[in-house]
């Protein structure tokens, strides 16, 4: 028995969706309270737009359930759903003028003409576009078209307004203005907004709740403050704001080791000597002249004025690079002391500690995984076709420029700097993920060849 909660205007339960072989949404569940401003945030291709489209009724999920206002809408076509969408590229009807665009939905509902007049005028005023009724939509600027698109969507008085990156095509100044207006509009209308964006600043500014997505999965749901201060994994930490993300070890409860030093922290329950990711925001590292009173020391590498604060990169005594933001400038080459307070250290479980693949023995010295055959060290009594688990350390994957020389080809999908090395996510052409630690500098989107030395392929028989 599942309790139906009337407080939730939208409930998405275990939504999955694939296009061909590609999994776009992987078991996504979301609950949205009435009147909330919810932002779905994530990089392009994370599935956020697909999720919004499923909510609007464009396409059906492979599995899962969509409830709006407590009723099942999973298989209801878009024109019968109590939601309206503001499309990314506006989708204003070019054969109708501003008035007719906004009145489109009202006319379909057979709202009387004088009523339509009233509503159109009201919503145009709301988006500060009074007196634009008779204008041809194609004669409007991008910002004005955006306003008309919003007016058209709210004219229908939907229970939920869906916004698909509505500000992406506007310039920075106009985007900022529209953000404020959207926020006010949300307050005035009192309806639920579901807003999709890849812009973390926009999400932090606008939302009551942020849903961070990546690779078709929800990474974290929380208030902007929660998401910023307590990211649940390194992806969220990296995606929201600036951060120092470092490999660490949880020595014991309330004691974590990273950048070669031990720090007191407030986290517990990770176990002893557990590998973890540690996030420290650049504004949370205190930088002092007095080396004696500091927890560790560093040498300033660069210092840039950023308007409100200075942004400095320092090399620590144990060879890690950290980003620090402070109101005071410290000259390059200066020796400084650094302090991090226990509450400012965010400790997170590592999602994985090495690459793990399902594989199959080809013969005694060859194993097949990721659709490719690799040479490995001779495996005693290995039978061809035997299923095995293959493990490869992050640091043992070789990336090379010449993609022809690699056993596999792929492209750099995601990069996190970890203070003394980069942690890359590589997406192979066959659609597999490999995680790589390297000190070489790669850019997102670079094509790479991938090699793994036979000695670095660890094979674990599945039955052991």
């Amino acid at each position: 028995m599942r309790m139906e909660n009337k407080d939730y205007i939208i409930e998405l339960n275990n939504i999955s969706k694939s296009f061909g072989d590609k999994v776009i949404l992987n078991d996504v569940s979301i609950k949205v309270k009435k009147g909330e401003f919810v932002t779905i945030l994530g990089p392009s291709g994370c599935g956020k737009t697909t999720l919004l489209r499923l909510l609007a009724g464009f396409g059906e999920a492979d599995s899962g359930e969509i409830r709006i206002n407590g009723n099942d809408y999973t298989h209801v076509p878009p024109h019968l759903r109590p939601v309206n969408t503001v499309f990314q590229r506006y989708a204003l009807f070019p054969h109708l003028d501003v008035y007719e665009n906004i009145a489109f939905g009202l006319k379909l509902q057979k709202v009387p003409g004088n009523e339509i007049d009233k509503i159109v005028r009201k919503v145009l005023k709301m988006v500060s576009m009074n007196d634009y009724e008779d204008r041809d939509v194609e004669s409007l600027s991008g910002g004005q078209q955006q306003r008309v698109a919003i007016a058209r969507a709210i004219a229908n008085q939907p229970k939920v307004l869906l916004l698909d990156e509505p500000l992406a095509a506007l310039d920075l100044k106009m985007r900022k203005d529209m953000q404020i207006e959207l926020k006010e509009m949300h307050k005035k209308l009192g309806i639920t907004f579901i807003y999709v964006t890849h812009d973390q600043e926009e999400a932090l500014t606008l939302s009551d709740t942020i849903i961070v997505m990546n690779e078709g999965k929800i990474q974290q749901i929380g208030t902007p403050t929660d998401i910023y201060n307590e990211p649940q994994n390194s992806f969220v930490a990296d995606f929201i704001g600036e951060s120092n993300i470092l490999n660490g070890t949880m020595v014991k409860d309330k004691l974590v080791e990273f950048v070669g030093h031990e720090f007191e922290c407030i986290d517990e329950g990770f176990g002893e000597n557990a590998p973890v990711d540690v996030v420290v925001r650049p504004e949370d590292i205190y930088i002092v002249r007095n080396l004696e009173s500091a927890q560790f020391t560093a040498k300033v590498k660069s210092c840039t004025f950023k308007g409100v604060h200075y942004e400095m990169f320092v090399d620590t005594d144990k060879g890690y690079e950290l980003m620090i933001q402070d109101y005071n400038a410290f000259a390059p080459e200066q020796e400084v002391g650094l302090i991090i307070r226990p509450a400012d250290i965010q400790v997170m479980h590592k999602e994985r500690t090495c690459n793990t693949f399902e594989g199959e023995m080809v013969d005694e010295t060859h194993v097949k995984f990721m659709d490719e055959t690799f040479e490995c060290l001779p495996q005693a009594d290995a039978k061809a076709g035997e299923k095995v688990t293959v493990q490869v350390d992050f640091s043992k994957v070789d990336l090379i420029d010449h993609i022809e020389d690699g056993t596999l080809e792929g492209d750099v999908h995601f990069i996190i700097y970890k203070g003394d090395h980069y942690h890359l996510t590589i997406l192979t052409d066959e659609g597999y993920h490999i995680w790589v630690d390297t000190t070489d500098i790669w850019d997102k989107g670079d094509l790479v060849g991938i090699n793994i030395a036979p000695a670095d392929i660890k094979i674990v028989k599945n039955n052991e």
Binding site: A56, F58, P77, F87, A91, F93, P94, G105, Q109, E138
Partner: protein, 257 residues
């Protein structure tokens, strides 16, 4: 060398072509139309047309046949184009080619074959067979431009309409049809204009029982009535000119490019 690098130099062959094969014949038609058989200026050819009940009748019939043909082509062609452009209903480009394929074959040959087919089936040639043959001949010219515009139409318009509460039927009438007007207009131009002036098709498909305006022009010119033939040609040119002007205006009114 500089003489050759000027852009206008490159246009010269086309200018010569246009003068020789477009402007000059047109001038000759106009000159002939306003002359009597002995070469004096005269409006007699036009007076003859206006007073000739036979000619006026044929003229009206030609317009009627052309309008009927165009309407039937829209009624048959639009749904066909819509189905072809709908990726859910039609997954392969081959179907599109199959519809367009008749355009690859010479219209006269197709018409002869159609006439032979009617003959074989024992169907009496007449206005009915004429319309069927014309629709068969010109349908691809209606389907293709509409298909072209429907398949390129941004699907977000359809989504926006259904998002605003339009049923699939309302989406079709209130968004897809108005937005595909340019395709319908070019389809109408490509079907209406040639059917107004056609003569071979009516000859083959009605066994010369039904005469169209084109037939009369051809007969006059064949029997060396150059001046009257030229005048009739000019009348037809003006009609076609007027229809294309109307269509141009319509485009602007609709505000779609």
């Amino acid at each position: 060398m500089s003489r050759f690098s000027k852009r206008s130099t490159w246009a010269l062959p086309y200018v010569i072509f246009l003068v020789l094969f477009v402007a000059l014949p047109l001038i000759i038609i106009i000159l002939y139309a306003f002359q009597d058989s002995s070469g004096n200026f005269s409006l007699g050819n036009f007076a003859k047309f206006v007073t000739d009940a036979d000619a006026i009748g044929t003229f009206a019939l030609s317009l009627e046949v052309a309008i009927e043909n165009t309407l039937i082509c829209i009624l048959l062609g639009y749904p066909a184009a819509w189905i072809l452009a709908n990726k859910k209903l039609n997954r392969s480009a081959v179907t599109v080619v199959l519809f367009i394929l008749p355009m690859w074959i010479n219209a006269l040959m197709r018409t002869l074959a159609t006439a032979e087919l009617f003959h074989m089936l024992g169907i009496q040639l007449g206005k009915g067979t004429l319309i069927v043959g014309m629709v068969y001949d010109y349908l691809p010219f209606m389907i293709y431009p509409i298909y072209n515009i429907l398949s390129k139409m941004d699907k977000s318009y359809v989504e926006a309409a259904s998002d605003l509460g339009a049923t699939p039927w309302q989406v079709f009438w209130k968004v897809q049809v108005p937005l595909s007007m340019p395709g319908i207009i070019s389809g109408v131009m490509m079907v209406f204009m040639p059917t107004v002036s056609t003569f071979a098709i009516s000859e083959f498909l009605t066994n010369n029982k039904i005469k169209l305006f084109g037939t009369i022009i051809q007969e006059n010119i064949n029997s060396s009535m150059w001046n009257y033939g030229a005048a009739l040609s000019l009348v037809m040119l003006i009609i076609i000119g007027i229809t294309s002007l109307l269509q141009d205006n319509k485009k602007e009114v609709n505000g779609v490019v």
